[in-house]
Every structure is written in C-alpha cells, then in structure tokens.
C-alpha cells in the first residue's frame, strides 16, 4: 500500500469522502455490481415479454428465429467471448502493472467490440432488405413460404421481430457505451494512470463489459437457436 502514513492525504485518485483506497475500491465495485443488478431488471422487462409471447406464438417465433443468420450469430458470440478474454487479461495486466500489455489488450477489446457492432449492423441490414423490420413495410410472405409446416399467422411474427430489434438494439447500445468506456480506459492506460495499487476503473469497466457479454450469451440462444429443427 502507501509508503508512509503521511502519504495517505495525497494518495493519487483518492476522493476526499473516502478514508482510504480500500474503501474507495470497495465502494466502486459494489456500485458497479448494484448497477449491473439494475441492468438485469432493465433487460428483464424484455425477457418477460419474450417469455410470454413465445408461449403464445410459438410457431411464429420459431419462423422468425429461423430467418436469422446462425453463422453470423455464432461468430458474433465468439467475438464477444474473445473480447471478454482480452478484458479479463487486461485487468490482470493492470493488476501486475504491465502498461504495454494492458494497452494492447484494451485495444484488442475495442477491435472485438467494434467488430461485433459491424457484424450486428450487417445482420440488421439483411433484415431491412428482407422487409422484416416491424411497421408498415413489414412483410411476412417469405416466412410463410419457407416454413409451411409451422402454419404462421403473419401478425404476431412482427412481435418476434419487434422484440428482436428492441433486445439486440439495446444490447448494441450497451456495447456502444462499453466501447466509449474502453476508449476512456485506453487513453488513461496510455497516460500510465493505472498502477498495481490503483486500477479500479479498469476492473469496474471490465465488470460492465463482461455483463454485456452475458446478456448476449442469453440473447443468442433465445433469438437464434429456438426451434431450428422440429
């Protein structure tokens, strides 16, 4: 910890309301965990809607999910998992005070994160081309044609796609925020702000990133994998 008790007053990055760094770190980490709790409930509202409508409109949901590109979806899952790895390693690098390694890993995370968003963009564009965006231009003909055995009712397929866009859209928004946070972390890592004693922001940012990853881990099976086969 600090070299001398005199230095306590001047610890770098210690805010005045805290007694010591440990208190500050614990506060920050609890704060992030609690915040992630609120995020769970935020997505929870949509999961609830998903659950109910899936129970009602089983076939329409199956048809909708079959129209998604499973290759892109799986790739994106893998991309996110890779980014989680780089984040975890990054936190480790910060713990050990390896500045260059940390920078490298943060940059890698940014690349994976942006890669995810690009792939997601491609998928959304496909939906646009296929007229699967809910609203007046929505067209379910193709779904009905491709899945004769499911006896689709066109109206509720829009619900599937509404949920698809709401869920992946808000998830992507979280990714964008995450990328913003990681730009900020990269900048300060580059300036050499983070030391083995003080790297709370990296840890906290990492928690957020992993959380966004976990949301996707659930979105992927729910949206892509449901009833490919039946």
């Amino acid at each position: 910890m600090a070299d001398s008790s005199l230095a306590v007053e001047h610890q770098e990055g210690l805010d005045h309301q805290f007694v010591d760094r440990e208190q500050q770190r614990n506060a920050a980490s609890l704060g992030m965990w609690v915040f992630l709790g609120t995020e769970v409930m935020f997505f929870g509202g949509m999961f609830c809607a998903y659950l109910i409508y899936r129970y009602w409109y089983y076939n329409e949901f199956a048809a909708g999910s079959r129209s998604l590109d499973i290759v892109l979806g799986t790739t994106n899952t893998a991309v996110l998992i890779c980014s989680s790895l780089t984040v975890a390693l990054g936190v480790r690098a910060a713990q050990m005070g390896k500045r260059r390694l940390l920078l490298l890993l943060l940059l890698a995370t940014l690349v994976f994160g942006l890669g995810f968003l690009v792939i997601k963009g491609v998928e959304w564009h496909d939906k646009y081309v296929e007229h699967h965006i809910p609203g007046p231009s929505f067209n379910a003909e193709e779904l009905i044609r491709k899945n004769p055995e499911l006896h689709i009712d066109p109206a509720p397929t829009q619900i599937y796609f509404s949920l698809y866009f709401a869920m992946t859209g808000l998830h992507a928004l979280h990714m964008v925020v995450g990328v913003g946070i990681f730009c900020f972390l990269t900048y300060y890592a580059w300036k050499g702000r983070y030391t083995p004693e003080y790297h709370t922001p990296v840890e906290i940012g990492g928690l957020y990133w992993h959380f966004v990853d976990i949301i996707w881990i659930y979105l992927f099976p729910l949206l892509y994998l449901i009833d490919r086969k039946r």
Binding site: Y57, N59, H151, I152, D153, A155
Partner: protein, 323 residues
C-alpha cells in the same frame, strides 16, 4: 330525499347486497381500528405530555406484543381476503344458462346486441330476475363496463372477449359508465341500463327488432362468407363439424385441449392457424379484415346456436321471435 346528495348507491342486482355487506364490515372494522389508534394517540398525547421534571420511561420493545400485532391483523386480513374472493368468484363465474348480450365498445359509445337481434346504443334493456351475461370486446382502446347499481365492472379489451354477468332485482334506470380512461369523451361514454318487468321486456322485444336474431344474422353471414364449403354437418367436410362444439373441450393437433368458448371461436375465425384441431389441416383462411367485431359476434352467436338445437343439424337456427 337526498336527490342531490346521495350517500349510498342503490343496490339493484343479486350481487350488490354481498358487496355492500363486505363493505359495511370493512367500514366498521376500519372505523374501529382508526378509532382505537386515534384514541391511543390522543390519550398518550394528553397523559404523557411534557411536564417539567417528569422524564420519559425508556422501553425497549416487546416481542410478544410484536407477534400479537402482526398475527392478529394477518388473521383478520385473511378473513377479508376469503370473503372478498368468494364474492369475486361468483361475480366472475356466469351461470351456464344466462342470456347473452354482446357488447362492442368503441370511442366513445356502447353498442349492445341481444341474442334476439335487438341492437341498442348506450342503452341496455334487460328483464328483471334473469341472469344476463355480457360478452364484450372493443374496437379500439380499453374501456370498462361499469354499472354502479349492480356493483359490477369489467374492462373491455381490444382483441379478445371479456365477460361479466348480473341478475337485476329491481326495475329502474341505472347509470352505465365507462370506467377506464379512453380518450377525449371518456366521461361522455355513458349510458343507462333499463331494467324492465319481464312483460314489458317481452313487449319491447316483440316490438323492436327488424333485423332477425343475432344467430340468424350469423347464419346468413356464415353462408355469405363461404364457411359451409368446408364446415358441413357431415364428416365429409374439410373442416370440422361445428355442430355442438361450443362449450366443449377441443382436442388440438399438438396434443393440448382447449375449451371452445367465445375467445376460442373468435381466434379460430381471425387467426385460424393459432390452434389446429386434431385431424385437420391448417387450410382455413384467416378472416381478419373481412369481418368486423359485430360480424364476429354474429358468427359466434350462430355457432353457439348450433350447440343448442336439439337436432344435430348445421341447418337453420331457431327462428327468432319477431321475424
């Protein structure tokens, strides 16, 4: 006496008395609790008011007291719950033989249609002493069918049927309110329920209708829409025989069974693929957009009438009185 200053709503249905009884019980209970608590507060405030040199006595608390005043209220609450639930259960379970009235709500009026074919707007005539079941849906937003004198209220939803029932006990004219906020004229979406003596009611029925019964209208609609091409009264049809299905469980293709009630028939017409009858192919086209809520109502009334006619023929529905 209190024309401008009523203090109690007229009870005019068989259920009203039950609701009033529970309400009075609750008023007494709440009154007693309030009185007890207010008295204690006032007595303590006066008796233990600050006097110089007199100190408060520190009391830590008391577990037996805490347990008592959690358990006793809980027990009382359970009594209220059960009582309220019993009333509710009755209110929500229409007698099987009730006469149906179909209600379609829209911004901002009530359209009511009797089984015999009489249509009314913002006014519902019913006979005294009969069970009346309301089968209600909305064309736009949520409304709520509220007759204070009967102590009944039920939201009317777009996209499905909700039901309510009552048994009027006292002739008279009562308020009908829309109780769920539905836009500009929400407070203007009011009407009246006119409870008539049975004879007056029969007279009104006989005099009024020029349309033919609801079921008969449904039957002609059934033919116009070409339903009989598939739904025939023998087993040759491509669709199931509709005679006698109403109110019975239906075996579905995926193994479930559902009760063939109004909501199910409605769904069968508007989104036929949602539930496939066991042994049939999903070939029935949707009639969404081709029929409006009134017409769906008529079709349902017709299919229901098929279950009632003693002969199992998909043929003519009972001729309605007055046609």
């Amino acid at each position: 006496m209190f024309d401008n200053f009523p203090l109690w709503p007229v009870p005019a249905s068989s259920g009203a008395g039950n609701v009033d009884a529970l309400f009075i019980f609750l008023v007494l209970l709440a009154g007693f609790m309030c009185l007890a608590i207010f008295t204690l507060i006032v007595v303590f405030a006066v008796k233990f008011r600050y006097r110089r040199g007199h100190r408060a006595e520190q009391i830590e608390g008391s577990v037996p007291l805490e347990v008592t005043w959690s358990a006793v209220p809980l027990a009382i609450f359970m009594v209220i719950f059960v009582w309220g639930a019993v009333i509710f259960f009755r209110e929500r379970t229409p007698p099987r033989e009730a006469d149906a009235v179909y209600v379609v709500a829209k911004q901002w009026m009530w359209k009511l249609e009797h089984e015999q074919g009489q249509k009314e707007i913002n006014e519902l005539r019913v006979p005294v002493g009969r069970d009346i079941k309301l089968i209600m849906t909305s064309q736009d937003v949520i409304h709520s069918f509220y007759v204070p004198a009967f102590r009944i209220k039920q939201d009317v939803l777009p996209g499905r049927y909700t039901t309510a029932w009552f048994h009027a006990t006292r002739p008279g004219v009562y308020h009908l309110f829309c109780a769920e906020y539905c836009g500009t004229e929400h407070s203007g979406m009011i009407g009246q329920v006119v409870v008539l003596e049975p004879a007056q009611y029969e007279a009104w029925l006989a005099g009024g209708s020029t349309f033919g019964s609801l079921a008969a209208n449904g039957e002609s609609l059934f033919r116009q829409l070409g339903c009989p091409t598939c739904h025939r009264s023998d087993i040759q049809g491509r669709g199931p025989n509709l005679v006698g299905i109403f109110g019975k469980p239906v075996q579905l293709e995926d193994g479930r069974t559902v009760m063939a009630d109004e909501n199910y028939i409605r769904e069968s017409i508007l989104s036929p693929n949602a539930k496939i009858v066991s042994g049939f192919k999903p070939i029935m086209p949707t009639f969404q957009g081709l029929v409006d809520e009134d017409q769906v109502t008529a079709l349902i009334a017709y299919i229901k009438s098929l279950s009632r006619s003693p002969e199992g023929a998909a043929g003519p529905a009972k001729p309605a009185p007055g046609t």
